[in-house]
């Protein structure tokens, strides 16, 4: 009896979850292997890609979520290969582990786009790259320039809030900025703390830092939420006016970094491209024009978002 109920419940679940589809004419099956849905940046990617594809009636989109797990992503791509998509877009969780399975997709004749993160071997038709190193450098230069404007020469005390250690984005956003800081002997990073990309941890770390450091000129958060968390801590102690805050990511929407620039919380943020728009622009041409040969690599530029262009960027990136 109990077994019967369990079976019935499972069947109900399956029926509830499956969606009926009615293909008509030539449709293109686009599969997007996302490494982790549960991050605001990646959620925005999914949102944008879904929007672009829903504007194309002959494109059917599937998004898989690897939940930040290499093995899961490999298994999901293997399943997708069996389904023979017309286009496979992969946002790899990590470089080395995903290299082989993307080679399998290529060997199966599936046009494959590698998104945003590089893999160990060029097992892709084209690679849409975002350059965290360049973002780090520009953020570092922005901070140095502002300090130079404040003191008449490049000097000052900087606090840095780092993302999860060992992640590519963290390494390069850190390394790029430090390439710049090192050129100026009077620019000092007085405190570095790891806040795991989270606003809550950014706030907690900053409270301690504010106690230990009586003078701080600038805060560089490797993403916007950590920089906002630092602002909240400084505001708590009434010190938010004596320093400025710089973030990275520049997502749209009410919870994104662009809104924080508009609200005067961040001095600037650096747009980390969502990249799926470019991927679909190239992908669409690959689908429809067999003679089209994409470049091996497209490098996407970052953009600085300051109060001057924030409104315009907000409208562009809010969906």
């Amino acid at each position: 009896m109990r077994l019967y109920w369990i079976c019935a419940a499972l069947a109900g679940l399956l029926i509830g979850c499956s969606k009926s589809s009615a293909p008509a004419g030539k449709t293109y099956f686009v599969a997007f292997s996302q490494c982790n849905n549960a991050e605001p940046y990646r959620s925005a990617q999914n949102e944008l890609l879904t929007r672009i594809c829903s504007g194309k009636p002959d494109v059917k989109l599937t998004i898989t979520d690897a939940q930040q797990d290499n093995s899961k992503q490999i298994a999901q791509i293997e399943t997708l290969i069996l389904q023979k998509p017309d286009l496979l877009i992969v946002a790899p969780n990590e470089r080395a582990p995903l290299t082989a399975v993307m080679g399998k997709a290529m060997a199966a004749g599936i046009p494959t786009i590698c998104l945003e993160r590089d893999i160990a071997e060029p097992n892709y038709t084209t690679y849409i790259a975002c350059d965290n190193r360049a973002i780090g450098k520009r953020a570092g230069q922005f901070i140095v320039d502002n300090l130079a404007a404040k003191y008449g020469q490049p000097k000052g005390k900087i606090v840095e809030l780092r993302g999860l250690l060992g992640v590519e984005g963290e390494i390069n956003r850190y390394g790029g900025a430090h390439e710049v800081f090192q050129q100026y002997p009077d620019i000092k990073v007085v405190h570095e703390a790891v806040a795991d990309w989270l606003q809550a941890k950014g706030r907690e770390r900053m409270l301690e830092i504010l106690r230990a450091q009586p003078e701080i000129d600038a805060v560089y958060g490797h993403n916007d939420p950590m920089a906002v968390g630092a602002y909240l801590a400084a505001q708590d102690l009434g010190r938010e006016k004596s320093m400025f805050f710089v973030g990275v990511d520049g997502l749209g929407g009410p919870a994104g970094g662009i809104k924080k620039v508009m609200d005067g919380i961040l001095a600037a943020t650096f747009y980390y491209p969502l990249a799926v728009d470019k991927a679909m622009e190239i992908g669409d041409r690959m689908l429809r024009d067999p003679s089209f040969k994409p470049e091996k690599k497209y490098m996407l530029a970052t953009e600085i978002i300051t109060p001057e262009n924030a409104k315009q960027m907000y409208d562009k990136l809010t969906f």
Binding site: A44, L198, A200, R205, R211, V228, I265
Partner: protein, 333 residues
């Protein structure tokens, strides 16, 4: 049944541990420009109290659960769900009432959902007789999924303008509010545990469930209450978390359950159930909080911090076992 005293040797040992940590923190504290030890500044000490409050509130609920020889791994996810619901309610779902109405509605929704999550945990544990570890492991996963589903994987920011959300954030992030919430929860549950029939039942179930059954105690009902309280307290921590960070975040509170369990265990409560106290949990919470503050004021590398914490946890629990044995107390299991 062990004597439900509020001050026994276990608490003395925790107190000793706390004293050692405080001494270390004072000695290693960096000095401010005026030569004072930063650790001892009133601002820093109250910072510590505020920072431990979320984990402390969760640890109070966890103490009840562990005293019944159970465990609740879902509190971190419940905290995330509560922040998400509070954020969503303030940002989008709020009814067209005044500011106070919106805030009360948001807090009520967050706490009600957390209570429900806890009650479901308790119901399944008590009635389907599945081990608490398994049940709460499953709900840890499920509730996290629910929080992400509700928010569509994004953060819900609020309180940067001048709406109800900003009032909620301003009130809820004040030190006095956060620390008072912890203090009230701590005192209320200390009394509940040491002075009421409910408290004795909690201990009795954890000490010897079979005996409690034969004594005719309402095992199922007590367990459901315990897990419901644990859920509500995790929800309360979530409400404070949301206010302090101006944000509902479905990824908040990851591994908070382990911090809460660590605080309880360092405070001398036995994972085998039946033995432990709220006072011990308070000390365990403070030991972890002061240790963290000490390491971070000194800008200790975060990986080193994790390694040092591991050593401290083992040392603290070992010291307690050693002394309970020496004083001929029960508890070494």
């Amino acid at each position: 049944m062990p004597r439900p005293s509020r001050f026994n040797f276990v608490n003395l040992q925790s107190g000793l541990g706390l004293a050692i940590i405080v001494l270390l923190a004072v000695l290693t504290s960096p000095r401010s420009g005026s030569g004072d030890r930063i650790f001892l500044e009133v601002g820093n000490l109250t910072d510590i109290l505020r920072q431990v409050s979320e984990i402390g509130i969760m640890a109070v609920g966890m103490t009840l659960v562990i005293l019944t020889a159970g465990i609740d791994l879902s509190v971190g996810s419940t905290l995330a769900m509560a922040t998400s619901i509070a954020g969503l309610t303030l940002a989008t779902w709020a009814p067209a009432t005044g500011t106070a109405g919106k805030i009360l509605f948001a807090v009520a929704c967050a706490l009600a959902a957390s209570a429900l999550a806890g009650a479901v945990n308790g119901f399944v544990i008590a009635n389907l007789r599945i081990q608490p570890f398994i049940v709460t492991l499953a709900s840890m996963i499920g509730i996290r999924g629910l929080a992400r589903r509700l928010t569509n994987n994004t953060n819900i920011d609020f309180g940067f303008g001048s709406d109800a959300g900003s009032v909620f954030a301003r009130i809820g992030s004040q030190k006095s509010t956060v620390v008072a919430a912890f203090a009230i929860v701590f005192i209320a549950f200390s009394v509940l545990l040491s002075r009421t029939v409910f408290g004795r039942r909690v201990r009795a179930i954890g000490d010897n469930e079979t005996a409690a059954v034969y004594a005719g105690l309402p095992i199922k009902r007590t367990k459901i209450y315990v897990y419901t309280w644990c859920g509500i307290l995790a929800g309360l921590a979530g409400v404070l978390h949301a206010a302090q960070n101006h944000q509902g975040n479905p990824n908040a509170g990851i591994s908070y359950e382990l911090d809460a369990i660590a605080a309880v265990v360092i405070g001398g409560t036995s994972l085998a159930g039946g033995k432990g106290s709220m006072a011990g949990t308070l000390m365990g919470t403070l030991i972890m909080g002061i240790l963290t503050n000490m390491l971070r004021l000194n800008n200790v590398d975060s990986n080193t911090e994790m390694m040092l914490k591991a050593v401290i946890i083992i040392a603290a629990v070992w010291i307690q076992q050693f002394d309970t044995r020496r004083f001929g107390k029960r508890g070494l299991r």
